[in-house]
Symmetry: C2
Subunit: 304 residues, 2 copies
């Protein structure tokens, strides 16, 4: 039995189950010298000198950028992303829904229905629709594979990882123009790092096929919202499905709320499931106690 400190602005003790481990909250932390594990959502700052037994910090999300600066975390303390098959499955279904929405011209059909018009358009075959998935982590790889299985022409862009199974790989910043030049539907699932902040902007949108679509389920700060709005205005980008934003919740009066070609969801593409989180943390505690590395270990140098 280990001692877990649960740090979040809401008291999540009733939602998250960590079996027989002792769970303390932020406001009732007791003696920090006894804390072995921290489970956290949101930026935090700790005096690690008071936490001599700390072994790991678990993020409640798939990313860790929301945790803020991790440079002070001692080397012996593992930082662990939330990795979960259900989280991955949910993200994949979000991506497929929005790819199909654009590929099958569903917004156009919704407009035709509203106008009472019976009119058909033949969509291109999936094999003629070029999808570009940016990001080759758990989420990006799973989404790319599922789209590939549905018959789409899928390419993956990442910093270093090669994709498999008949999908084209584009590696590194230098390959970005070629990747975007063949992309009709861009799916962003990149982690937020210094390199990916603001990566989707006027310059890169212009590299896309004309009338392209943008799906962002990675991080809001990777996309320059004003540039996307301008490209939607010019027709360079034909539509966007956005789950994440520069500021969340998306502010009242933001142009995205009422834009007819923007499909907003409230950071809900893939919601951490309380049961899965408990399982993930407990399984990883078993691994760490046995001396094995946790699943979802973050490379702090790389930032994800």
């Amino acid at each position: 039995m280990s001692t877990i400190l649960l740090m979040s602005t809401m008291d999540l003790r009733d939602d998250l189950s960590f079996g027989s481990h002792e769970v303390r909250t932020w406001l009732d932390a007791g003696d920090p010298a006894e804390v072995e594990y921290i489970v956290v959502w949101g930026a935090f700052a700790l005096d690690y000198d008071t936490l001599p037994k700390l072994k790991a910090i678990f993020s409640l999300g798939a990313g860790v950028d929301h945790l803020g600066d991790l440079s002070g975390v001692p080397d012996g303390v593992a930082v662990v992303r939330f990795v979960d098959p259900l989280l991955t499955e949910e993200m994949t279904s979000y991506v497929i829904l929005n790819v199909l929405r654009f590929h099958r011209e569903d917004p156009w059909y919704r407009d035709r229905q509203a106008a009472g018009e019976w009119e058909q358009i033949i969509p291109p075959a999936a094999g003629d629709v070029r999808i570009g998935v940016a990001g080759a982590g758990e989420l990006g790889s799973a989404a790319a594979k599922a789209l590939f299985d549905l018959g789409y022409d899928v390419a993956v862009w990442s910093r270093s990882r090669r994709s498999s199974e008949g999908m084209q790989s584009f590696i590194g910043r230098g390959a970005l123009p070629d990747f975007l030049g063949r992309t009709k539907i861009l799916v962003n699932l990149l982690p937020l790092t210094d390199e990916t902040r603001g990566i989707w902007c006027a310059e890169t949108f212009t590299m896309l096929e004309d009338g392209a679509y943008v799906i962002n389920a990675g991080r809001g700060a990777s996309l320059v919202e004003a540039d996307l709005l301008a490209c939607l205005e010019s027709g360079r980008v034909a539509g966007a499905a956005l789950d994440v934003f520069e500021q969340e919740p998306l502010p009242e009066g933001h142009a995205f709320w009422t834009h007819p070609r923007v499909f907003v969801t409230p950071h809900a593409a893939s919601l951490s499931n309380p049961v899965s989180i408990g399982d993930h943390v407990m399984r990883n505690i078993v691994r760490i106690e046995r001396g094995a590395g946790p699943i979802g270990l973050v490379d702090r140098e790389r930032g994800y």
Copy 2:
């Protein structure tokens, strides 16, 4: 080189390519005694005594019910459905789009966006969503398999065919209550026969899980529209995606046009691709000329 008679209300000669075969149209048929193949969309009546060389009648669609009464077609003349991987792929993508639309509560999120509200709901895991696919032909089997691959709990109901790969099979009319009792999202891909006309009605909708969804991409006449509207009103059915209707085009002023929980498409789930049709007909002519059975041969006894 064979002589093909192309029968449709529109002149499709510029759209459909049949290679070096001689193609005649309805209005310029020449000597019927020379016609070996007929390609047709819509009901028709022929004096088969004047067509001694006729070998096959090709439907331009996946179904043949639109051809009307086929009882007069001589035994030696094959009736052939349109079977095409692209047609199947398109139907599968229509089904997935609409399953995801309902599973992920997309209509609810569209309403939230329109209201400027940032609110999340956690959808059930795909494995907890019970999909019932009615029809185990090319289209039904492909859709069921794709949904199964996405993690859904899929069951298939058909007259006689058992489905594979971990999906539950329900066979025959007697199994319909059990099939519907475990179905949250019903997908109709049945052919239209005497047995399936009006099969989706008040009686069968009431067998579904409460708050179920109905997706009809089979035939409009299999669904009793007034009953569906009543079940949408009572909440028994929570939403419907309809591609086919009792009367097509869907008449002006029909309640479906403006119903907030009905998603109308104009018989466009899977549009026959002109290139594919030409290939399908030409390949089957080669098979028939060689004495092989055509792909898509209709069992006239069974009706599909």
